[in-house]
């Protein structure tokens, strides 16, 4: 970090470009950590496992656990005063200064923030994303000294993560790979010595490229894991679909005159609703006929 903590240093750019993530230490005060934890405790009934068990491990035995991942969403929409600590983090000066540099001015919250809470024995999350296949939604690019990361997640740590505890893990440098990721690595059968689980303390904050291969190792820590993830995007990038997604919601009822194929190209942008893959029509054509297929969107590997 430079002398002015709100100016991105050349060393930070080097590290982020090389590795695909950055960790800043001791950013939150104990009072800020306590405020976040107290707000979560006061709304503990909203912590649920929305995907059940086994959904995120995708059959990877090494990532299995006793329980599915527990989450709490809409933290910035909680009744006041519980939402305020999370709204403060939304535009924390460290976040604004780094995202202005890495994603460009006008960056936006795409979805989240969400709490991930784990207790000892909770399952992990399949290692996902990579530079190959190219995923334009979260692509990473560097050109003439400027970084363009379309998707960055900022993960605030509210509890300690020690070596071997599990939790967030990644493959440093994988945001630039042009070769497919071995399945064994994604499933942690053989990580080839490439998977890294950073140690973090409560009050630290992790920035990572969504392009970088990342996931979660089963939680082995004695205490709870609590990490708040804000999913940011550059100004014109979309991952989550917004409230106005269907052709009717975006254009009005005149689109009912259109064929299903014509309506298919009038859907709004985005790839998923909440954390679920969006279901929508897509088109195929041999150049003579157009066919419509309705189903979960499968785009980028």
């Amino acid at each position: 970090m430079s002398d002015n903590p709100y100016i991105v240093s050349e060393e930070e750019k080097y590290f982020f470009d090389l590795r695909g993530y950055l960790i800043f230490r001791d950013i939150l005060s104990q009072a800020e950590i306590d405020a976040c934890n107290a707000a979560i405790d006061a709304n503990a009934d909203k912590i649920i496992a929305p995907r059940g068990q086994g959904n995120l491990t995708r059959g990877a035995t090494a990532l299995e656990g006793k329980r599915g991942r527990h989450e709490m969403w809409e933290l910035i929409g909680l009744p006041s005063p519980h939402r305020e600590p999370f709204r403060d983090l939304l535009v924390h000066p460290l976040v604004v200064s780094r995202l202005n540099e890495f994603s460009g001015k006008g960056f936006r919250l795409d979805h989240g923030p969400a709490l991930i809470e784990s207790i000892e024995g909770d399952e992990g999350h399949w290692l996902h994303a990579s530079g190959e296949p190219f995923n334009p939604a979260v692509s990473y690019h560097q050109q003439n000294g400027k970084i363009y990361a379309r998707g960055i997640t900022v993960a605030w740590q509210l509890t300690d993560v020690n070596a071997g505890d599990g939790g967030f893990a990644c493959v440093p440098g994988s945001h630039k790979t042009a070769e497919p990721t071995p399945d064994d690595l994604r499933e942690m059968v053989d990580d080839m010595g490439l998977v890294y689980q950073p140690e973090m303390k409560a009050g630290d904050v992790l920035f990572f490229c969504e392009t970088m291969t990342h996931g979660t190792l089963p939680w082995k820590g004695k205490g709870k894991r609590r990490s708040i993830l804000y999913k940011y995007a550059s100004r014109a990038a979309n991952r989550a679909v917004g409230k106005h997604f269907t052709p009717q919601e975006r254009y009005g009822d005149w689109v009912n005159e259109l064929t299903p194929a014509q309506q298919a190209v009038l859907y709004g942008p985005g790839m998923h609703q909440g954390e679920k893959t969006v279901v929508m029509p897509t088109l195929e054509s041999d150049g003579k006929e157009v066919t419509v297929t309705e189903g979960p969107l499968k785009l980028f590997g």
Binding site: P5, Y6, I76, G77, R87, V91, H92, P93, V96, N100, K105, G106, F107, R108, L109, D110, E132, P133, F134, P136, A137, S139, H141, Q143, N144, Y148, A178, Y232, S234, R235, A236, A237, N238, G242, K243, H244, R250, W254, E257, L258, T259, A261, Q262, A264, V265, L266, Y267, G268, P269, M271, M280, T282, L283, E284, S285, G287, E289, V290, L297, L299
Partner: protein
């Protein structure tokens, strides 16, 4: 989209597909357009400070998708035409979408050109071109249906071939056409042809219209599944529309600044944030 088309597209950043509309389809569509000529609106000149592109304001015919039936049908048929779907699935990937438009340009003799805009540098991630392991991807493609011929040197769509891969800024003379280094190219097209071009990745614009017949070009602005430029995305972008009430109610202006929905074609209405030396986050002036 065969290998020859892919090669041409990757190399130049545009593609002309000949004879997509039959002569009868062109005539039928032009007859409809003739009947709506009183709806043409003339905008300002798009030549800015260019001498080479100077001329009168650009005439446009709005609202063609919403014409009453059956007059809207030819334009609806263009939206997801097989010639479009088969190529955009390759160019933008499945799930491509209409971002904004269509814009129907109906230039007359003397209508100004349009300064060249877009380029590989600076990189614009939402419309950028990328090729990796045999797969091409571009965030924005404009599909321009031609209803009248456009002859060599007579104006209309023009571009700087290969500029979607440029790593240096476009010189001012190329932008204005006043010193174009012989790089600006105006493809010859005939009524019924369709022009595909990388929108904002490739440098493109228009040269002044010189024919007695009008220019009739309908521009559908498509995007990849995860890019937003304008259109309805702009309409629904304000935080109080884009998010549920409980999420944004009571937020500070700085917090609201990161809650606008996605789109790129803003003209300063999206507040930008900056951080002062003492760590205060504020709206950039």
């Amino acid at each position: 989209m065969d290998a020859r088309e892919r090669y041409f597209w990757d190399l130049t950043g545009h593609l002309v597909v000949k004879g997509v509309l039959s002569k009868e389809e062109v005539e039928q569509t032009n007859e409809i357009v003739d009947r709506y000529s009183d709806r043409v609106k003339v905008g300002g000149s798009t030549a800015r400070d260019s001498v080479a592109f100077a001329g009168t304001g650009r005439p446009m015919l709005p609202g063609i998708l919403e014409f009453p039936k059956p007059d809207c049908d030819p334009f609806h048929n263009m939206l997801a035409h097989p010639a479009v779907v088969s190529r955009l699935n390759v160019m933008c990937g499945k799930g491509f979408r209409l971002d904004h438009g269509p814009m129907f340009i109906v230039s007359n003799k003397g209508t100004a050109g349009h300064t060249m805009h877009g380029n590989g540098e600076p990189h614009r991630p939402h419309v950028a071109y990328h090729h990796q392991n045999g797969i091409t991807y571009v965030g924005g493609v404009t599909v321009a249906w031609q209803l009248h011929d456009c002859k060599e040197g007579m104006g209309g769509f023009a571009c700087v071939p290969a500029s979607h891969k440029a790593n240096f800024p476009m010189p001012l003379g190329v932008k204005t056409g006043d010193g174009d280094m012989d790089l600006i190219y105006q493809p010859v097209v005939e009524a019924g042809d369709v022009v595909f071009f990388m929108d904002s990745a490739q440098s493109h614009g228009a040269t002044p219209w010189k024919l007695d017949t009008t220019r009739r070009s309908i521009l559908f602005k498509y995007a990849g599944r995860t890019s937003s430029r304008g259109g309805p995305s702009q309409t629904v972008a304000p935080p109080e529309i884009y998010w549920d009430k409980n999420i944004v109610e009571g937020m500070t202006p700085e917090q609201l600044a990161v809650m606008f929905g996605p789109y790129s074609n803003h003209r300063g209405e999206i507040p930008m944030l900056e951080v002062t030396k003492d760590g205060t986050v504020k709206i950039e002036e």
